[in-house]
């Protein structure tokens, strides 16, 4: 049981990291980023090439993933989302645009990287044993890094000037603009940060579970589940949703080794949303 809970925590921490990026864009611009899972996959592939292919140190690969994805995020905002959001008053437009970008990234990844499942050698080897629970060092590293990123992100949002500006935008974009926040520029920063978080999550995961081009949609769907559990647009909700999903998933795989876990999760989610449409911590819609 301890092992199951540890695995749940391990999965949950990564999930939280992925959900943070989605939540950031959602709260800033009210855009649901369908491409989030695809960005995660892209981050994984960058690390695969830099760390597995070019044999550079893992942290260089991590940095490369983060920077590449931050650039992709900027481009998304500048070329796609800004023109559409500026002109359109309908929610549908931004959502379809983001579904389109998801499909585009996925097919580009498929064309350039192929459909093989790619893995890289582990960063650290060895296993700790704590009271009957096996804790591989690699997984501990993943948990540590994810945790570090989350803390860094929260501190950034809490105590720095750009962080404050982003929070102001999330609360009320127009008022923030009136208070002298350059909302256009900070929107780009928001996208860059969010894509970077997805990229980092992808990069950290490659040494353990590998990456393939078909993962994206599934990751996006999982992220949506987390956001719905936790409540959209709230940082604490993203983290709670990620942890909850990780632990439920781990328990599910333990008790139902067949494929029923996610079926049960979906049905449970529908019932849960009937009771609490805004999730655990969400604001009223």
């Amino acid at each position: 049981m301890g092992q199951v809970l540890f695995n749940g925590m391990y999965t949950g921490v990564q999930y939280s990291l992925i959900a943070l990026g989605l939540t950031l864009i959602f709260s800033l611009m009210n855009v649901l980023n369908f491409a989030h899972g695809q960005l995660y996959v892209l981050g994984g592939f960058v690390t695969y090439y830099v760390y597995g292919g070019m044999k550079l140190p893992f942290f260089a690969a991590l940095l490369a993933s983060a920077l590449t994805l931050a650039a992709v995020g900027c481009l998304f905002q500048i070329f796609f989302f800004r023109p559409v959001m500026r002109r359109s008053v309908r929610e549908e437009s931004s959502m379809l645009l983001s579904a389109g970008t998801a499909m585009m990234v996925e097919s580009l990844v498929l064309i350039f990287f192929g459909e093989k499942h790619r893995g890289v050698p582990a960063v650290v080897n060895g296993v700790y044993e704590l009271g009957g629970v096996f804790v591989p060092k690699g997984r501990l590293l993943v948990m540590g890094l994810s945790f570090l990123c989350m803390v860094a992100f929260i501190l950034f949002m809490r105590y720095t000037k750009p962080g404050r500006a982003l929070r102001a935008m999330a609360q009320d974009s127009e008022t923030a603009c009136l208070m002298g926040v350059n909302t256009a520029r900070y929107a780009i920063l928001g996208w860059a940060l969010a894509a970077m978080l997805a990229g980092i999550a992808g990069a950290i995961l490659v040494p353990i579970s590998g990456v393939n081009s078909g993962l994206g949609n599934w990751i996006s769907i999982k992220t949506f589940i987390m956001v719905m559990i936790g409540g959209a647009g709230v940082i604490s909700g993203a983290i709670a949703g990620g942890l909850v999903l990780g632990i439920i998933e781990s328990l599910g795989y333990h008790f139902f080794p067949g494929g029923e876990t996610y079926l049960i999760i979906f049905v449970g989610l529908i019932v849960f949303l009937a009771v609490r449409p805004n999730g655990l911590m969400g604001k009223a819609v």
Binding site: F26, N30, L32, F80, P83, V84, R87, S88, V89, R90, E91, E92, S93, M95, L96, L97, A99, G100, T101, A102, M103, M104, E106, S107, L108, L110, I111, N217, I221, F224, I225, V227, M228, A232, G258, G259, E260, Y262, L263, F266, V267, L269, I270, V271, L273, A274, P277, V285
Partner: protein, 331 residues
């Protein structure tokens, strides 16, 4: 005058759709099959269009279509019912499921509704995979029989599909269902119900304060939407004579949205025009199949950037000039 024009346009369209096209492609069963598929996909997309019409983005249409397909396949292969009963049964089952699911989920608005319906597509796929006593799991249900004959008092209404050219038979059945579906859609939109739906699209709270029973109407819209998906899915599965968990996927759900948007959300015929234009132009670009998702996604992004109101907004709509003009809804 407008009525005459409408009638003229409609009969011209029927002439092309039911006479000219089958005649042109009489020796090309493959092309005919492609056109049949386009018909049925446009029928399924029409459901998504209706959800757009009440201001919801339904990303679960693939899931509903899959439910319809499996329902028909199970009714035919496990219970030995005839295709025609199964077709109606599939529609019925899909509607019941959509109502059960819709009652709690339609309370969610905007992005939340899209997220949960997207999950519905995955739920349907997983259910098809794991309930293997009913659905044969990943292997799917194969070798479905062709639709049999329908006779009333010794008079053959519809011949056995095995005894005639099945490509023609499927084309006409598909065309018939599609025409029926779009006629129903046109009727709904141009009725009192249509006005009520438009009021939901504009502002649900305001509509509610005027005494519109918003929750009931939302469920009605979803039920109609699911009915289209169920019938379309059942027909598609029978045409393919097999069904797998991957018959309708996440990607199909997104394509349905794209079809509607390409045609335009302002006109009832948007889903029809969008599906035919995109699906057929794609068939002509043989050899690009590998890049289909990429090209579709680029079209989708391009549409959002340069043509947000769809193809039918370019020139005055040819079909049905009597439709109400839809304003851009404020969020």
């Amino acid at each position: 005058m407008a009525k005459v024009k409408t009638a003229l346009g409609a009969s011209l369209f029927l002439l092309v759709y039911l006479v000219l096209i089958p005649w042109l492609f009489r020796d090309q069963p493959y092309r005919l099959g492609v056109l049949t598929t386009a018909s049925v996909l446009s029928l399924i997309s029409a459901g998504v269009w209706l959800m757009f019409y009440i201001g919801r983005i339904n990303m679960g249409q693939g899931g509903f279509a899959l439910v319809g397909g499996y329902a028909a396949a199970i009714l035919v292969s496990k219970l030995g019912l005839s295709f025609w009963v199964a077709l109606i049964g599939a529609g019925f089952i899909t509607v019941v499921i959509s109502i059960l699911v819709g009652l709690p989920l339609l309370r969610l608005k905007g992005v939340y509704f899209s997220m949960i319906t997207l999950s519905l597509t995955e739920t349907a796929r997983l259910a098809a995979q794991s309930l293997s006593s009913l659905t044969n799991g990943t292997k799917g249900i194969l070798n479905l029989p062709l639709p049999g004959a329908v006779e009333i008092a010794g008079f053959t209404l519809i011949p056995d599909f095995a005894s005639v050219d099945k490509h023609f038979a499927f084309y006409f059945l598909g065309a018939f269902l599609t025409i029926l579906g779009f006629a129903a859609l046109y009727r709904v939109v141009n009725s009192r119900l249509g006005w009520l739906f438009r009021s939901l699209q504009q502002n649900e709270d305001l509509a509610s304060s005027f005494g519109v029973d918003v929750p009931r109407l939302r469920v009605i819209a979803l039920a109609i939407c699911a009915l289209f998906a169920g019938i379309g899915g059942a027909f598609f599965v029978t045409m393919q004579q097999s069904v797998y968990p991957a018959t309708f996927t996440f990607q199909d759900s997104t394509y349905f949205l794209l079809y509607c948007f390409l045609g335009g959300l302002g006109s009832v015929w948007g889903a029809f025009v969008g599906t035919f234009v995109l699906f057929l132009s794609f068939e002509m670009l043989q050899g690009l199949n590998q890049y289909q998702p990429l090209i579709y996604s680029l079209i989708m992004i391009g549409m959002m950037l340069w043509l947000p109101n769809g193809l039918l907004s370019i020139k005055p709509p040819f079909f049905g000039p009597g439709e109400p003009k839809k304003e851009e809804a404020r969020p």
